[in-house]
């Protein structure tokens, strides 16, 4: 390390009150990133597999079965959303909401999970849904193909933990994501699992230097888990409408605090 860099490090230590920022840890990230790639691949395989059964149920006109499979199928997608979002065309096609489109539910650009959700819950019918089911199946298959060929950028992986929390904070805590089915708590499960996976993989790199930070982050994940656990039902979660106002507030502050804290994770790992 050059003298100049020592000076910089010393200055940073002063500015941050002892929380020195890691330098040259990019190499240390090779292993966590490789492991994360495996995690993403597994999630994508599961997504493709589940989507096949889900869309088959839609095409077979089995409304009840399709409704039961909607939320669990999305879990895998929600866990790796920051990576899926690297392909914005596919993310739009798979997971956009009616209000992302000028003509709302009637907009021809409104496709994917939420278009099918709209048909199943609002129309209580699979009529008209067959083309959307076929398209969804094609889109998730294409997503898996593209991500398989992709070298994951470290800053996107590490930054993904914060991105997941930002998404929950900005557009999910209100219950607008799964507005027809109210299965939002399933999505939260996927988002939190995906964020926690990233933290878990990089934790050994900062556990010593950032013990307080790690402790605080773990505590907020625990807070979130405790709330989600209260709403468990069978293999999944109750309707978002069952969430009490008090629990919604605690979820909101835990998510906002995680978003603030995880926004520093990249820097703590020496990433730009």
């Amino acid at each position: 390390m050059s003298a100049m860099r020592w000076v910089t490090a010393a200055l940073l230590t002063v500015v941050l009150g002892g929380a020195a920022i890691a330098r040259d840890t990019t190499l240390d990230l090779v292993e966590p990133i490789a492991e994360y790639k495996i995690y993403v691949t597994e999630k994508l395989d599961k997504l493709v597999e589940d989507t096949k059964i889900f869309t088959d149920a839609v095409k077979a006109g089995d409304v009840a079965k399709a409704k039961a499979l909607f939320a669990p199928t999305r879990l895998s997608y929600e866990a790796i959303e920051p990576i899926a979002e690297l392909f914005s065309d596919l993310d739009q096609a798979i997971d956009s909401r009616a209000d992302d489109h000028e003509k709302g539910e009637a907009d021809p650009g409104f496709t994917g999970f939420h278009r099918i959700e709209y048909g199943l819950w609002v129309k209580n019918s699979t009529a008209e849904l067959v083309p959307f089911a076929d398209k969804l199946m094609n889109d998730v298959t294409e997503l898996r193909k593209r991500i398989t060929d992709l070298a994951l950028p470290p800053e996107k992986v590490v930054g993904g933990a914060a991105v997941l929390m930002e998404e929950v904070a900005a557009t999910k805590i209100s219950g607008e994501e799964d507005r027809y089915s109210h299965t939002d708590l399933w999505d939260f499960r996927g988002n939190f699992d995906g964020a926690y996976k990233i933290v878990e993989l990089v934790r050994p790199l900062i556990a010593e230097k950032e013990a307080e930070f790690v402790k605080k982050v773990e505590a907020n994940f625990a807070r979130v888990n405790a709330i989600l656990d209260k709403y468990k039902e069978g293999a999944g979660y109750m309707s978002y409408e069952k969430l009490t106002e008090a629990d919604r507030k605690v979820l909101a502050v835990a998510v906002n605090t995680l978003a603030e804290d995880l926004s520093t994770l990249r820097a703590k790992l020496g990433l730009d």
Binding site: L12, V15, L16, I21, A246, K249, V250, A252, V253, A254, N256, T257, A259, E260, S263, T264, R266, A267, G270, L271, D272
Partner: protein, 449 residues
């Protein structure tokens, strides 16, 4: 020098009264006499009267204007109203007295920094910046005040806090003309944020949100502003106009009159309130939509009869050639031939000895939000007032106004009742310290029986 009589007194008592005030103001130098606000520049600026609803003086505001943070009462109540104001309402997550103390100390720290100004910390560029940067690397005070008030829900939802609720603090009740939207009502904590510029109020709000993510959830906010106007040739500072085009606040009590404020605004020891509440005040916030298109299609004479004032000058209708600060003489007009009996200002303040106790200190801002689904302007008044007695103050005044002709043109849609915490005494104190101490004192008492 702003000249205005105390509108709480009858005309006869006014001349001597005005002389007293003018004398008290002196030929004020650099200090605002009633707010303690330090003017940034040379005393060439017109000095302010003690009326918080005077329009901000055009070209007089400076980003270096500083309102002291410490004192027996919070800033932002008897402080001269700057051009921009906002109410932000939050849900609070605080399960224990320690949680509450941590939040109040953090708020105090942020308020002290923001209202004083200074450079923001520089961090490694790989980290998110500690400050939004929207006012640049050096924060200027810009006459910023942040006034913190608590809602009834904060007390009611916490058994350890419930016994200490100010006795008149309830969830805002619905009045007959209200159409309350729950999305913009109530809250555990209301922050009134005022400053010369909107950027400063927004910067302050973003700073607080960023610094308190673990305890505050933003519930709603409403911003507003008031026009700055040049003083008249005689130095008179006029009351700002609302979005109905009328001057608003002409009859506001004189915030520079300490005895009057002690009687009308500040909760003292004699009110049967919990001891911790001394030095605080009841705050009422009302988001009152104005149907401005309809108002603009109403004949001028009718507008004036509805309000009870001449639209151009603000003079009372029985003194058409007078000015806004002259008191109407309702005694000589018992049938309402000049000022209709149901005119807004006559109902709000009948100017009788019995209604003296109902005076409230108003500090409103105009708001303009956008367009309704019907293609009309969503504009109105962010009404804010302070009083020592909620029932005798706002609630009584509003009951008198219920059914007034003005209701056809206005619709209260949001707001809340809050209790404004006592002041931060000095740099070693923090907001609400007396409340936290009272909670701790109760906890250490043996249970009765």
């Amino acid at each position: 020098m702003a000249k205005r009589p105390d509108p709480t007194k009858a005309d006869t008592a006014m001349d001597s009264r005005r002389r007293t005030i003018l004398k008290a103001l002196g030929l004020a130098g650099a200090m605002c006499p009633f707010s303690g606000m330090t003017l940034a520049e040379e005393p060439a600026k017109p000095a302010k009267s003690g009326h918080v609803t005077d329009a901000p003086v055009a070209n007089a505001a400076s980003s270096d204007d500083k309102v002291p943070v410490y004192g027996p009462h919070q800033a932002g109540i008897t402080t001269a109203r700057p051009a921009n104001g906002m109410i932000a309402s939050f849900d609070v997550v605080a399960d224990t007295p320690d949680d509450l103390e941590r939040l109040l100390r953090k708020l105090t720290e942020r308020i002290a920094f923001l209202a004083t100004g200074g450079p923001v910390a520089e961090l490694d560029p790989r980290l998110p910046p500690p400050d939004s940067g929207i006012v640049g690397p050096v924060v200027r005070p810009d006459a910023l005040t942040i006034t913190a008030s608590l809602g009834a829900s904060l007390f009611e939802d916490r058994p350890w806090l419930a016994p200490l609720r100010p006795k008149q603090l309830t969830r805002m009740t619905r009045f007959p003309n209200d159409a309350l939207d729950r999305q913009i009502c109530h809250g555990d904590l209301a922050l009134q944020i005022c400053a010369n510029t909107q950027d400063t109020t927004i910067h302050a709000l973003r700073d607080i949100i960023k610094n308190c993510p673990g305890q505050l959830v933003l519930k709603w906010k409403q911003e507003g502003n008031v026009p700055a106007i040049l003083p008249g040739p005689d130095g008179m500072v006029e009351s700002a106009r609302n979005f109905l085009g009328f001057r608003d606040g002409s009859a506001n009590p004189n915030a520079g009159d300490e005895a009057l404020m002690n009687r009308l605004v500040w909760v003292g020891a004699d009110r049967g309130e919990p001891d911790w509440a001394a030095g605080g005040s009841y705050q009422v916030v009302r988001i009152i939509r104005n149907f401005v298109e309809r108002w603009d299609r109403t004949p001028l004479g009718e507008q004036e009869r509805i309000m009870g004032r001449v639209k151009t000058s603000g003079a009372p209708l029985d003194k058409r050639d007078g000015h806004e600060f002259q008191a109407p003489d309702y005694g000589s007009d018992p049938e309402g031939k000049l000022t209709p009996l149901d005119a807004h200002i006559r109902l709000a303040n009948p100017r009788t000895a019995e209604t003296e106790d109902n005076l409230i200190l108003r500090r409103p801002f105009n708001y303009s939000n956008g367009v309704t689904k019907s293609g009309q302007l969503d504009q109105g008044l962010l009404f804010i007032c302070y009083q020592a007695d909620l029932e005798r103050g706002f609630v009584t005044v509003q009951r008198r106004l219920d059914g007034e002709p003005l209701e056809e043109y206005i619709k209260p849609v949001g707001g809340g009742f809050f209790y404004t915490l006592p002041g931060i005494r000095d740099a070693s104190d923090y907001l609400g310290s007396s409340l936290v101490a009272a909670v701790r004192a109760r906890a250490s008492q043996p249970m009765p029986g």
